[in-house]
Amino acid sequence: MSQVLHAPPPAPAEDDLAALAARHGLSVSGARPSLPEYVRQLWARRHFINAFATAKLTAQYSEAKLGQVWQVATPLLNAAVYYFVFGILLGTSRGVADYVPFLVTGVFVWTFTQNSIMSGTRAISGNLGLVRALHFPRAALPVSFALQQLQQLLFSMAALVLILLGFGMTPGVSWVLVLPVLALQFVFNAGVSMVMARMGAKTPDIAQLMPFVLRTWMYVSGVMWSIDRTLTRSDVPHVVKVLLESNPAAVYIDLMRFALIDSFKAHQLPHHVWALALGWALLAGVGGFIYFWKAEETYGRG
């Protein structure tokens, strides 16, 4: 190329510019890609998503003296607090067989959903620096945060196995069910995270509200009490029990208990429980992804 290029163009008229761009096949900067293209871009960034999640997880306790021991110690301490309050003080444990494994499973599985949604809400609004500095499909952020929570849960599951063995559970074939349950719950969490990420990006105040919503959700989801046992005996309308039992958090918690705890029998599960687990995952996963993608080009606005 010669250097004669820059007699600075005397700012051409505006329709000229659009025509010039079209003639040279330039594309509009920052435009939203099509949905299949977006999926392709996201897949191409899978290593980043994974590395970002692991990095966040590792960075979490890097200044603590005990370091990564906290990955296991934190969920254990949580479970201990809930056991003290609900198992001993309030006596929720009455009539629930194997209450400690029941409670700990519930707490861990619930924490996975709770933390995913919480960090999803701040996924965009809390990482504006990143969003404004680098170009990548923004869905990578909420997915990455959900993945971080999944990795965290795997640490908790190691602690859980110790507790289960300590309370005399025997590993059985049903333990394999943990894998599909985790996969479905992960898809569900990632989906809800994406919905919350878009809402949180537009209205950061939602992050202040979420702890209250989540706490309410936790108490109705049977994390520390048995929906089945408590409501069968009381005179609550049947429809309430069905609704409580089909809420996604309760579904994933009960499936996990069914997989891991010997005394938790199939008749304690709601009807069509696997269909519910799959349905919630698909609804949240696909719906959340599309909802998030629809606003892709607006993330990062001041």
């Binding site: 600075p8 659009a18 761009a21 980043f48 960075a59 990143l130 500095a133 990548f136 990062g300 001041g302």
Partner: protein
Amino acid sequence: MAEHTEPVPTVIADEVDIVYRVNGTGSGRGSATAALNRILRRGKAEKAAGVRRVHAVKKVSFVAYKGEAIGLIGTNGSGKSTLLKAVAGLLPVESGRIYTDGQPSLLGVNAALMNDLTGERNVHLGGLAMGMSREEIKSRYQEIVDFSGINEKGDFITLPMRTYSSGMAARLRFSIAAAKNHDVLLIDEALATGDRKFQQRSEERIRELRKEAGTVFLVSHNNKSIRDTCERVLWLERGELRMDGPTEEVLEAYEAFTGGAGKRPRK
């Protein structure tokens, strides 16, 4: 080569406006009610309710061609960095359009790096964040570390980044950012990092990147580095494009403007 061959445009800005909206700038008194008001009467009462609109870039048009290195100058807060971010597709424009050839990238990965991780892991993380493949990072890893000079004073790359001096951290960040080749490269005052020796190395690297890139934009307050690297300059002032022309001509006018306490606005 025929002089009338049409130059190939790589970035076209067409009447671009960029507006920031800032929450919580209420005058202090009654800001809680203002916030409620804002939520209830979305859109309508934006201004009354304490949302300030900052019109950062106003009706800016230009065409950048392949092979050009363009400097962006202007006093602080004149909208230079904002314009770059919009060209990179990272900030949405309020009205107008920006057309680009391929994906322009901003030189900078600071936001993706984590102080609690080792330099080594940050090289990987930063590379992935910029869209490099794992193989690409592996093959360039040694090059990045050597360029940063982090290991010149001992094995620092395996220590967490929070233990680095600010100069060391800046050098590593620049080295990671400069490791990738770009079609359209946007540089936001990246030259001012590190000691003199490192600055020379980075200027060299920028010239290399320029050779590989189609077009380079450089934001800087250092008129010397603009003179050294750019042949065309855009001068932004209060969000408006004040001048667009050959480096010498624009810089002369700009120096007169800043030196003469803003007395003689040309044009």
